[in-house]
Subunit: 515 residues, 2 copies
């Protein structure tokens, strides 16, 4: 499917004669316009300088590396078809915490390798707010920009080396990140994002010269960044929508991405509605702060043993447990609720928990792993405070889903054909558990689909398929972005959702038979 349809095309230019004495560049231009079925292409000077001797030496055939911006196609390079020179691209998920680079073969569309690493800007500030403040002081912006660019260059070079390529083989970089991460990657002033009326510098960064960004790839290389809708709805989400294919679905679907923020898109080919960002006080210290990141020894799954009815755990890498991550906490709370150790108001039941419930500094704590079995020598437990926070988070999530699906889109949950869960959170969460605590709506299990890193997925998709370019612009253009209005109605809905699974038990028919 890829051959000749991606960003690398094999072309054959008309041979000149006394009757066809148009210049080489114009014959090349005509050939490319025909090949790309377009009427505009830019051919840079660097391509022209040796065009006459190259094109004759290659028998008027070449491999053309092309990309585009909103205005026209752009020729990046011409290569000898016989040379076997590789043409690579790099997709980058510019996460606030964690970044991932995927090295792609632009001719076959195959992934060559992937590398994940911490966003080095985290040493300056853990979140976007801290980094924006830092960027506004002295050389702060340049420091932050250097950090991320250096890390990307280092990791792209390492990926190339590992797989036997040169960094000059990379022609395209496609990045997807939230609005702040994208602006800091571009070295753009970002303080206005956090000052009323919260204006980003740019919604649609145009295709850029990689050299202008100090990206150490081919000298003719270009870089593209997914556009954003605003300060709180970034290119990572647009990449996610592209990856999920929401914009092409025949029936309404939903995509939920919980990373640093919670972002939700519902819609299909005819319309897309999105809501994103911090949902006011309800989400503060909310979903994203649940538990540890998924490292070895972290408990990622908890379930009730069907025979003994005891809780069982699984740790990443099957190491001795050292803590618990978000998905583990959802499993745990679901297990506790289903075994009646948490009541419908979200409080530990002394009666059911028995000696697993201890008091620490006056706060009830459920001991999941005692100090003997813990990898840290300390017991791993869930305090009532942790649980309250989880309760708020799950209630906020459910309420937001209700608002966007029911109040805004005018649908019922059952109308959704697919429920895509994206982001780090989505990669590990088990929908059964999330439904059990009333975090996700009670819809059939087969409708849930984990997308994994949809931001990276969208970036990779563009590298494979030029048609994605127009889809991206269309998605951006057509999304209706709604600000979550935390009013009295919202707070009422939120209050109901703080119960387990909900004050309106009829919303969760699959839990029939459970407490």
């Amino acid at each position: 499917m890829m051959a000749g349809k991606g960003f690398v095309r094999t072309i054959s230019v008309d041979t000149p004669s006394l009757n066809n004495n148009t210049a080489d560049a114009q014959r090349l231009e005509k050939c490319l316009l025909d090949e790309l079925k377009t009427d505009k292409i830019r051919i840079p000077l660097s391509m022209l300088k040796k065009l006459p001797s190259n094109i004759r030496q290659w028998g008027f055939k070449a491999k053309a590396v092309v990309f585009k911006d909103r205005q026209s196609w752009i020729l990046l390079d011409l290569l000898d078809q016989e040379s076997g020179m590789p043409v690579l691209g790099a997709a980058i998920d510019i996460g606030t915490t964690r970044m991932v680079i995927s090295l792609m073969d632009l001719e076959t569309g195959h992934e060559i390798g992937q590398k994940g690493f911490d966003n080095p800007q985290a040493v300056i500030g853990p979140d976007v707010l801290a980094r924006i403040h830092y960027s506004n002081k002295n050389s702060g912006l340049k420091e932050l920009n250097d950090l991320v660019i250096d890390a990307v260059n280092f990791n792209m070079a390492a990926l190339c080396k590992e797989h036997g390529f040169q960094k000059q083989d990379i022609y395209l970089v496609v990045g997807a990140g939230n609005t702040v991460m994208t602006q800091l990657f571009l070295g753009i002033e970002s303080i206005e994002i956090i000052k009323e009326p919260y204006i980003p510098c740019v919604n649609i960064p145009d295709t850029l010269s990689a050299g202008d960004l100090n990206l150490d790839i081919n000298a003719s290389g270009l870089a593209f960044f997914f556009p954003n809708i605003g300060s709180y709805f970034g290119g990572d989400l647009i990449a996610g929508i592209l990856f999920s294919g929401l914009d092409q679905k025949q029936d309404p679907c939903i995509m939920v991405d919980v990373g640093t923020n919670a972002e939700i898109v519902v819609g299909y080919k005819d319309w897309l509605i999105a809501c994103a960002g911090a949902a006011g006080p309800a989400l503060e210290g909310g979903v994203s702060k649940m538990g540890m990141t998924a490292n070895p020894g972290v408990i990622d799954r908890v379930w009730i043993d069907p025979d003994s009815k005891n809780l069982r755990i699984h740790t990443i890498g099957e190491k001795k447990p050292v803590g618990i991550c978000g998905s583990g906490m959802i499993d745990l709370s679901a297990s506790l609720f289903l075994s009646k150790k948490i009541d419908i108001t979200g409080k530990f039941s002394k009666q059911a928990c028995k000696d697993r419930l201890v008091e620490k500094e006056g706060v009830p704590c459920f001991v999941l792993v005692d100090e003997i079995h813990s990898g840290t020598g300390k017991a791993i437990s869930l305090s009532q405070v942790d649980l309250n926070s989880l309760t708020s988070s799950k209630a906020a999530m459910y309420t937001i889903l209700e608002v966007i699906v029911k109040n805004t889109a005018g649908l019922e949950f059952k109308d959704l054909q697919k429920f895509y869960v994206a982001g780090t959170f989505g990669s590990f969460i088990r929908p059964e558990s999330a439904i059990a605590i009333g975090m996700l709506p009670d819809i059939p299990m087969e409708k849930f689909e984990v997308l994994g890193n949809s931001s990276l997925g969208g970036a990779k998709l563009l590298l494979k398929n030029p048609d994605a370019f127009e889809r991206i612009m269309k998605i951006r253009q057509s999304i209706t972005y709604i600000e979550l209005n935390v009013n009295q109605e919202f707070m009422n809905m939120f209050s109901g959702a703080k119960f387990y699974p909900h004050t309106d038990r009829s919303l969760f028919p699959s839990l029939k038979g459970f407490p």
Copy 2:
């Protein structure tokens, strides 16, 4: 007329608010698209980096420097409206022998100053052929390119300094030259231009970054070069057509440009026909080689004193005569013919010339200035060999005009509403003299118009008026370029034109009463 309509626009961007929270770049983009009445503009990264603080500091007003290429408009810079920062452009006539730079104020459209200098590539080769051969060896192309770029940088800087500007004030360079000069300016391989089938590398050089050409102007500066029709019909001619306005005339007109080559365009708003280049053997050693260039002491005018009937001369700078230039030679031959010292076959008449005719190495020579009055101590004379060469040239010119106007365009000379004479040659020629010897057709004197340096004129016109961009592309697209076919019919016409003024005396009714 210029204010706000050129390449510098005063703009006012919408102020953001909670209800208009589009990004700064997108509000700027919208404002520029409205201002320019277009749907495509590229805003480079360098503009974005400080956009948020700049645009707020300037109260959401700015002076925008814009230019364009075939694909879209391009934003070059944003300046504080209050700063009074100048915005300049440089028009360059890239002549094979002589170059001229004009420094322009892009806001008012006024010329600030002009500088002429020899094309430094002449030290490597006097003509395009020698330079192309040199460019094809080792580092020859780079040497030639460096020579011309260095000279342009030097002279632009000098012009700026003279008039109290900085070289960074220059944002646009517009160059017009023949196809070879343009390609060498761009550092492009050019050997194919002189190898069958004579293919230039590029017909339409796209708008380029000035930095890519090592032009030392504003870092965001762009450079535009007039497109060509082929190896023998360069951008200088397209610039000339633009300058003459031939493409907008209501009735057929003609433009003749005699520089290194003879180039002729006839036409008006509905069509344009051009012929150019060496017209085979007839023009070899022809028009362009007549006489010296116009330096002090060179005889530029010759006439018959009405009283004494003696020849009178004028020299440039009114110095003692040191030689004679092309226009002087045409005047001289006309005066000699009108006073019967040259007969209708183009031979000196011993009888009429009397003692002014001497023999040098067996060749008759007409002494115009004797050694006593000459500035060099040597007599200044016109030999029969010189005269034969002039005769060939004038016959070739007339024949080419006849072929293009009568045989090709199907017009009569009297149908031409204007006869534009461009180029160095045209700046000095006196049509009366050219008609007297049968070089130019016998049409009313008021139809002749000297354009001067039309190549520079066209480049300056583009700097003043963005609309010229589309005119240039349209002129290039619409010209019918004819190869001059030196066949038997041409040679027959040529033979007749070698007489003074012509074998068909009826073609020159204004010479009635003369010999």
